[in-house]
């Protein structure tokens, strides 16, 4: 209980830090960049939008910094992130709401797949120590961990999208020929557009799962209870799954809980390469179009997702492994 409370306290503290960063960054930059943005959109905005921007970015305000800060906190707490400037007059929250499902679908499913596949491969690699899988994989995945995600995406676009014409490589569905709806063609359309970005994500993220699982499993396999199980003559599969893997999977499970938080932000560049209509592309679009309200809200959303996942991961780890409860 005390443990959970302490983690919760840390969650609140970090959230506050992120919100404060959001507040301070535009104000700290030389020549508040929001001023330039405001003059660009001057005359196009209604008075309500102007007031919200005023509070969010501190433009045209004569209030002191602490006073600005408190009205900022109040506005964030009430969920008013202002109106988007690129998609004026739509509110920031409604725009994010339409994009988030694309990201959750693509990155969420790929994350689960990568975790399941990677953990399985890691178990087998550690079990057949010195086997073919075990000797090829570690160096290969050490190298892929250094390859930029977006570059893998570009290579796939080049091979399967442009040279071979097997799969579409841009967008979430054929915008010109297909209408969103509960039809089979639309479903196939979405699926075919998701394959290439999903493979790029899978290729670049699976290595971590494999290596972590393999390395923990190797340590576990050296434990006395595993040797004992061997001495008892238990079938190999049972030792592998019930004795070794079950105890070695904890770091991977924690990592999985955390990576769910990174679903929202983990594929920004992949979405950019494939022009995928998720929140990652949206963030970059907002940055490039100087749509600062949208940008701030997205950063906050990304941070909250990560923080929540870490909170859940911490508590889950404590529940699963009593040894961690007192530590740190």
């Amino acid at each position: 209980m005390r443990f959970a409370l302490r983690r919760l306290g840390f969650f609140v503290l970090t959230l506050w830090a992120a919100v404060t960063l959001n507040f301070l960054l535009p104000r700290l930059m030389p020549g508040n960049p929001a001023l330039a943005m405001m003059s660009k959109f001057h005359g196009e905005l209604g008075p309500g939008a102007l007031k919200a921007l005023d509070i969010l970015f501190g433009v045209n305000t004569h209030k002191s910094l602490p006073a600005q800060y408190f009205s900022y906190l109040h506005q964030i707490a009430t969920g008013n992130f202002g109106t988007s400037l690129d998609f004026y007059p739509a509110s920031v929250t409604s725009i994010i709401g339409s994009a988030i499902w694309w990201t959750l679908g693509l990155v969420g499913i790929t994350t689960i797949l990568a975790f399941a596949l990677g953990t399985g491969l890691g178990i087998v690699a550690a079990w057949r120590r010195g086997g073919r899988l075990d000797s090829i994989m570690p160096p290969v995945f050490v190298i892929t961990s250094a390859v930029p995600y977006f570059w893998v995406g570009m290579v796939l676009v080049l091979i399967f999208g442009i040279s071979l014409h097997w799969l579409p490589s841009q967008g979430g569905y054929y915008v010109s020929t297909d209408t969103p709806g509960l039809t089979l063609t639309y479903f196939e359309d979405v699926l075919s557009h998701a394959i290439l970005p999903a493979i790029s994500l899978l290729v670049t993220t699976i290595g971590t799962w494999i290596l972590t699982m393999r390395n923990t499993m190797i340590t576990t396999l050296a434990e006395d209870y595993v040797r004992m199980a061997r001495a008892k003559g238990l079938p190999g599969r049972r030792i592998m799954i019930d004795y070794a893997a079950r105890n070695a999977i904890l770091p991977n499970l924690t990592g999985f809980a955390m990576s769910l938080g990174f679903v929202v932000s983990g594929a920004i560049l992949i979405e950019y390469v494939f022009n995928y209509p998720g929140v990652g592309s949206m963030l970059l679009q907002a940055v490039q179009g100087e749509d600062y309200p949208l940008m701030q809200a997205l950063f906050l959303l990304i941070t909250v997702a990560v923080l929540l996942a870490i909170l859940v991961a911490d508590i889950a780890t404590a529940l699963l492994d009593p040894r961690t409860r007192t530590a740190g």
């Binding site: 840390f10 120590r129 250094a146 390859v147 100087e290 870490i310």
Partner: protein, 322 residues
């Protein structure tokens, strides 16, 4: 096939080689000894050899780009969009610049970012990690919270936001921003190791001798952590390369910088993939990957040296695997 049983303890019973556990016996010049052992490892471990060779190649290219590429990377001197020829190994850009020259000269920017951020971020990490562990109490509390908060705030989105406000971040801005945000992961690692070393006899002995705190930290404690500090440098350098290139690629850097990330930005902007100029995007990406791989390989090799259980086994371990 042979040695079915003795192979098991062989991978386990060598904790004596783990950093720190040898204790007071090597407190004379642990830093140099660790470095000597790393030098030895570079020769004997294949991953480390490949990593070092790649890194040395990039360092050479970044030091003497003019020797390798004779063209001015910024000059629009040739016909646009030339194919691959002996005069232009990678062709020319849509502006008629020699792409090979851009790649070669871009190496320098990337290496500067990698080494400056690597050194600076590792310096901050050592300072904060070791201070937190050694000073303890309130210091540890506040420094650890600072580290942890920075650790969990999603770094890449944060960098995007800052670079977005900064408008066309120059190399210097990139270096400063990445350094200030990316030290926390390695600081955490260094703190844990410093914590585990805190109660060791050789530190106690120094204290009894009446040495000053700063002396103990700098001369006694930090040298014993050399291998982890080198690993921290490699990690920070790797992330610096990936982050800086990614930011430049999405157009948040200064588009006139000569750098691999900037090349990728122009390739994307001019639709190089769609217009039959794949090399424009493939070559700089491959270079980023190769440089990153050299850092990652070295890091993994040193990890294997620190933790013998992870080393590849030459002999298969009998039959229990089925």
């Amino acid at each position: 096939m042979s040695m079915p049983i003795s192979a098991v303890p062989a991978t386990v019973d060598q904790p004596g080689q783990q950093p720190g556990s040898t204790g007071a016996g090597r407190s004379r010049a642990p830093g140099t000894r660790v470095l000597a052992r790393m030098g030895q490892a570079v020769r004997s471990n294949r991953k480390a050899t490949v990593g070092t060779a790649l890194l040395a190649l990039f360092v050479l290219v970044s030091l003497f780009p003019g020797v390798i590429a004779h063209d001015n990377p910024g000059a629009d001197a040739y016909a646009p969009r030339l194919g691959l020829t002996t005069a232009h190994l990678l062709g020319t850009t849509a502006q008629g610049q020699d792409m090979f020259a851009q790649l070669v000269w871009g190496t320098r920017t990337v290496m500067i970012i990698a080494f400056v951020v690597g050194l600076a971020a590792t310096g901050i990490a050592v300072l904060i990690g070791v201070a937190a562990a050694y000073l303890g109490g309130l210091w540890d509390g506040s420094l650890s919270v600072l580290t942890d908060v920075l650790l969990v705030i999603p770094l890449f989105p944060l960098l995007i936001i800052i670079a977005g406000y900064a408008h066309g971040a120059s190399t210097l801005v990139l270096i400063v921003v990445i350094t200030l945000t990316s030290w926390s992961y390695t600081a955490r690692q260094l703190r844990s190791q410093a914590l585990s070393l805190r109660g060791r006899d050789f530190l106690e002995a120094a204290r009894v001798r009446g040495e000053r705190r700063l002396y103990i930290i700098v001369v006694e404690l930090i040298p014993t952590m050399t291998s982890l500090i080198v690993a921290a440098f490699l990690t920070n350098a790797l992330y610096a390369v990936l982050f800086a290139s990614s930011l430049q690629y999405i157009g948040l850097g200064n588009p006139n910088t000569q750098s691999w990330g900037t090349m990728l930005y122009w390739a994307q902007n001019e639709a190089a993939l769609q217009t039959g100029q794949p090399m424009w995007a493939l070559a700089p990406g491959a270079c980023i990957a190769a440089l990153g791989a050299s850092f990652a390989l070295l890091n993994y090799a040193f990890d294997e040296i620190g933790n013998p259980a992870l080393r590849p086994v030459r002999r298969t371990r009998g039959k229990p695997a089925r």
